[in-house]
Amino acid sequence: MSMLTVSGVHTFYGRIEALRGVDVTVEEGEIVTLIGANGAGKSTLLMTICGNPRAAAGRIAFDGREITSLPTHNIVRRGIAQSPEGRRIFPFMTVLENLQMGASVVDPAHFQEDVDRVFTLYPILKERRHQRGGTLSGGEQQMLAIGRALMSRPRLLLLDEPSLGLAPLLVKQIFSVIADINKTQKMTVFLVEQNAYHALRLAHRGYVMANGQIVLSGTGQELLANPEIRAAYLEGGHG
């Protein structure tokens, strides 16, 4: 049984149909990457999994239990954490407080241990622990967003464009940390990325989305080798 099953999901914004029957599965322990053009509906899919907006049709199951109509906060309590598009950290709270907020749904007894783990992944956050979130650099904010998501001890981590706006060196670092979390903590990761080359190389499997539908899927290597994908997402970059 797959950890996450999205089947035939449609999502609307008013009358705009952003998802037109999406099927995606994520197996336990995998890194799955979703790529696609701007406006394809990638962020919408991640948000729909978290129940905000609600899917208009289709079903979403986590661990074999349907979560399609649960409120967002209860979905998170089931063990899905999201680092949303645009990071959305709390700007007036310190780094430490942001992390503490991320741990809202878990036993506070784990707090120290979990914070230490995040600080090992991102030592810069430790240095900045008393700095307000809003004054962090873009890259630091991204690390904080991921760190905050990790604090809820999720089993499935949803990441929306973690490399957005980062310098190449930091992009590499962000991805290597994701691979690291996946290996050492056995964390399942569902990743939305524009940075197709890095993201597909990292992933066990990948999906390509266009106009609210999945148009291609395969292992990371397969997709990387696919000429259409090379033409659409990789040319000029690392081609």
Partner: protein, 504 residues
């Protein structure tokens, strides 16, 4: 943009016409405003009212506005020298006249003063001194970074005040406790202190909703009213005492808070403000029209005064019973009751304060603050926004209800007239000006906004104008509030592991 300090700054040329135009606009604006407000005055004369004109004052006011604006622009444009001399000369002349007038009233120096009111003359002089200070400051820090510098200075002051709250808090509390026994504390001053303390408490209560949870509530007076009427009705219908009614009043107000909370769960910002404003008015209108129950506009009188653990503050207790002074073998003094009321409100305020300080560190309080910053992010970390908002409304309302009960027992009489929108506005002003979320800031703002005007009774209706002007000035000068500073609720490593906290 900002040149590094130490280098000479090349100033952009001044557009004289634009400067004059801007100053003239202000002068015209002030003229138009003052024409109606100051230009005509009704005066009691034998046989009726007579309209006295004071156009001279209107012109002076416009002129002062013109010069003041000019000075502000010059300061902004880094040309402090004319302002320096101008303000110094003006302040010197004014001070000479004002002090001379105090020293020798017979010389009738007031003729030469620009304004009829002594207080306004003093205020204008003070303003000139402020201009002088600013000019000196600009002269010493000739750089574009002045505004940023000022913000930083105030931020640092705010941060230091917050950090030293451990010292300042108990100190102020000590002063508050001994205050009634100081020789200066007469009936009048005690009444003002009670009033200020009431607003401090209400400010702290509203601070939970507005400052912590970030829900702009313009109808806080509704909960104040619910608390006051709960106590008044319970006490008069069922003959219950203050201490029995107090928790009930709090619970009733909290229910009212939840009642308001449900329909506004999805609203934010302006829309939330409008609905809460409507809610405040609704409660007032209900109180006004439900005659059978609330006696409508007649109000409720004969509300029992609080007793000291059953001992009333009466001169002649009924036979066979004791009153406060006889029980303790004291001389009867009407001040006893006032002092007791004073301590009562101080205690209520302290409870509000400790509650807020404590809850900020608990999961609920942290969720409130997170909600203020980003509701979507809150959802995505597993916080239930509905419950979080409802608890904020309920708990904020509860303290409003406590405040209302106190008001009822202090006044002995309440009517819907005491619970108009202006009350909500004043409480909100106390919170916003103090610096949202800052406990000491709120106390500070209450003293300034509620206490100070009492000393300026001479200004009559201009008091409210000055109130408004002060508010506008603070908002321009420091939009986040005087002592806005958010102290983190958690520190790790330097001070050991965090306290274990119960699960949400």
């Amino acid at each position: 943009m900002a040149p590094p300090s130490g280098t000479t700054t090349i100033l952009p040329p001044l557009d004289r016409r634009a400067v004059l135009k801007e100053s003239a606009y202000i002068a015209i604006f002030v003229f138009a405003l003052a024409f109606g407000l100051v230009g005509f005055k009704t005066e009691d004369v034998p046989g009726g009212l007579e309209i006295v004109t004071r156009f001279g004052q209107v012109f002076v006011a416009a002129l002062v506005a013109f010069v003041g604006r000019l000075g502000m622009i010059l300061l902004r444009e880094q040309r402090p020298v004319p302002v320096l001399w101008g303000s110094a000369a003006f302040a010197a002349v004014m001070l000479a006249l004002l002090i001379g007038n105090l020293a020798a009233p017979a010389a009738d120096l007031t003729r030469y003063l620009p304004f009829g009111s002594v207080v306004i003359n003093w205020l204008v002089t003070l303003l000139a001194v402020v201009f002088f200070g600013r000019a000196v400051w600009v002269l010493r820090h000739r750089s574009r970074a002045v505004t940023a510098g000022r913000e930083a200075v105030m931020d640092r002051v705010a941060a230091r005040v917050q950090r030293s709250a451990r010292v300042i808090g108990p100190l102020l509390l000590g002063i508050a406790i001994v205050f009634p026994f100081l020789p200066v504390a007469d009936r009048w001053l005690l009444d003002i202190a009670i009033l200020v303390a009431t607003y401090i408490m209400l400010g702290w209560g509203l601070n939970i909703v507005v400052g912590l949870a970030g829900l702009l509530d313009l109808g806080y007076v509704a909960f104040y009213a619910v608390g006051a009427y709960s106590y008044a009705l319970l006490a008069t219908y069922f003959d219950l005492g203050f201490w029995v009614c107090l928790p009930f009043a709090g619970i009733m107000a909290a229910f009212a808070g939840i009642l308001l909370g449900f329909p506004v769960l999805r609203l934010r910002g302006d829309y939330l403000a409008i609905v809460t404003l409507g809610f405040g008015e609704m409660i007032r209108v209900i109180l006004l029209n439900w005659y059978k129950f609330t006696k409508g506009p007649d109000g409720i009188s004969g509300i029992p005064r609080p007793s000291f653990f059953g001992l009333p503050f009466t001169r002649n207790p009924p036979d066979g019973s004791e009153s406060f002074h006889s029980f303790f073998g004291l001389e009867y003094s009407p001040l006893d009751r006032i002092i007791f009321l004073y301590y009562l409100i101080i205690a209520l305020a302290l409870v509000t304060n400790f509650f807020t300080l404590r809850i900020r560190k608990l999961p609920v309080g942290r969720a409130w603050e997170a909600l203020r910053e980003d509701e979507t992010a809150c959802r995505s970390i597993g916080i239930n926004p509905r419950n979080t908002k409802l608890t904020a409304f309920a708990i904020g309302a509860m303290f409003g209800g406590f405040g209302g009960s106190f008001f009822a027992t202090r006044q002995g009489f309440i009517s819907p007239e005491s619970f108009t929108f202006i009350e909500s506005a004043i409480i909100l002003a106390v919170v916003v000006l103090g610096g949202m979320g800052s406990q000491i800031g709120v106390a500070f703002a209450a003293v300034i906004l509620i206490g100070l005007p009492e000393f300026f009774r001479e200004l009559q209706q201009y008091r409210m104008l000055a109130f408004g002007a002060a508010m506008v000035m603070i908002m321009v000068w420091r939009p986040r509030g005087l002592l806005a500073h958010r102290e983190p609720t958690i520190r790790l490593f330097p001070q050991g592991p965090p306290v274990k906290e119960p699960k949400t």
